[in-house]
Symmetry: C2
Subunit: 310 residues, 2 copies
């Protein structure tokens, strides 16, 4: 199985309003709820690709119960979340139907106690025994040590399980010290980490900081991978319009499934870009459109980058 | 006891953000949750005034469980809410700390089945047996007949229990047909009902439509009451600045407690205006500040209106 870790899972709530007018009252006609958090999204896409995916992390309160109910009813993902006393956070996406723009409100998440953190570490180590790869995803809830991803990476490496790290800011910076197999920042996160805005240069710098390989998502332009063996860019055959929510998580699922299946770097990137674009084009945010995915797969372009990776 | 009915109770969630910027992502640092819905607010104020208050209406889902937990922990209100299959709605108030302005997002509420509606009617009739007055408050969830307040008013009148109706739009219009003892619209609701923007004229028109008495809240200017015996205006001694959330519900509690205690119309209005102003001035939205209330009570002005009520 493939394990994904979501320390700050969320109940994702979407409100559709005719028009968002600040400082007025809106009657929300249309509401939707889904289990949220990067690792949960990655696991959902992995199961759609035929893999057995297990999620762990923290879950609690009424929002956590709602999340678990939706996860069981709507996905094939195996739930190994660890119960905590605080409530799972909500995220509210307010979609303005007049423009299609989204205003996002994200709660911070439950405060994790040292005892809960200890229980999680036990669960995580047990799950690693059966894992063929692990993805460490997203932001941290209050109370979790900021070097958590370094600790989780070390435990996975000890267990011989390859690690993909997808986070940002200080948790990313600290996580790199433990030498994860792959990090998947977007261009902004990579620039914030390294101080370089040119993606190839920034990716090479991120490798020097500890990542064995870097796969950077470049938005509509596709992805760039820099590894010990070379550098590649992959991109969709045409510009794909739509909602980019979840596109990065689908890319992670593409990279991770490709790693487990022993695909070449070129083929992993092609899969990640096709999944990402098929997510942008899907009608529901965070889902991927299978027909678009299959149609794009043979048409994604991939080329070795002219500059050798450092 | 005093009974309040909240057919569309809510879990009220408040998010404080440094500044609301539409179409961007906000990390919410401060969140608060409270049991919401007009009748619940009225009941909370009634208990603070020393009355035994019972709430009924519908409650369901994880949000409903959260609401009941907060009601039990934080208030002295007796919970006689009727469980339903659909989830209690959320309301989200986004407070922009830079301006103090609030942007409100209100979910529609659970769809009520005919069986759930039947169960509620039984519970309501049982509760009326012990009620000295009943307040029918707020908007309707989907699936409830639009003439519900007329039916509930008739049942209360059959049981000899005086009825205060506090709603708007079509439910108010239909409710008036059953001749409630008192309606408490604000100036906008009264104008929407009658087509008259002059409050005294509009209130007299609302009496002709069926209300035995009308107490209209005029915002910072206070209240106007029109009854079979006369018309009175009451107002605070000075303009009170603050958050008007819940001020109308506090006014209802003032009118209702005054009715049960056999106060004169003048004294009911004075209490309602003082409670309303003490709610505007309270630091937390929807609470009332007891010191302000007691300080204002002897200073609220009340005068018989020069024009005789029709």
């Amino acid at each position: 199985m493939i394990l994904t870790v979501t320390l700050n899972a969320a109940l994702d709530i979407t409100y559709r309003v005719p028009r968002l007018r600040p400082h007025t009252t809106h009657r929300v006609a249309e509401t939707a709820e889904r289990p949220g958090g990067k690792g949960l999204n990655v696991a959902r896409v992995l199961t759609a690709l035929g893999h057995h995916a297990v999620v762990t992390g923290f879950v609690g309160g009424g929002t956590g119960a709602a999340l678990r109910g939706l996860l069981a009813r709507e996905t094939a993902v195996t739930d190994a979340l660890v119960p905590v006393g605080g409530p799972t956070r909500r995220t509210i996406a307010v979609v303005d139907a007049s423009t299609g723009d989204t205003t996002q409100l994200n709660e911070p998440g439950p405060a994790i106690t040292p005892a809960e953190w200890g229980t999680f570490l036990h669960t995580y180590r047990d799950l690693l025994a059966d894992a063929r790869a692990v993805a460490l995803c997203g932001s941290l809830p209050p109370g979790v040590p900021v070097d958590v991803y370094a600790r989780l990476t070390r435990a996975a490496r000890t267990a011989g399980v390859p690690v993909l790290l997808d986070t940002s800011g200080e948790p990313l910076r600290r996580g790199l010290a433990a030498r994860p197999d792959l990090v998947k920042p977007n261009a902004d996160e990579l620039a914030a980490l390294t101080g370089h805005t040119e993606p190839l240069r920034a990716a090479r710098d991120a490798r020097r900081r500890g990542a064995h390989a870097v796969a950077a998502s470049l938005g509509a332009a596709g992805m760039l991978a820099v590894t010990a063996d070379g550098a590649w860019r992959a991109g969709p055959p045409e510009r794909i319009a739509g909602n980019p929510t979840g596109a990065g998580d689908s890319a992670v699922a593409g990279l991770l499934s490709g790693l487990v299946e022993g695909l070449s770097w070129e083929d992993r990137l092609v899969r990640a870009v096709a999944l990402s674009a098929a997510t942008v084009r899907a009608p529901a945010a965070g889902e991927f459109d299978r027909a678009t995915y299959e149609e794009l797969l043979p048409r994604v372009t991939v080329a070795e980058s002219s500059v050798r990776a450092g």
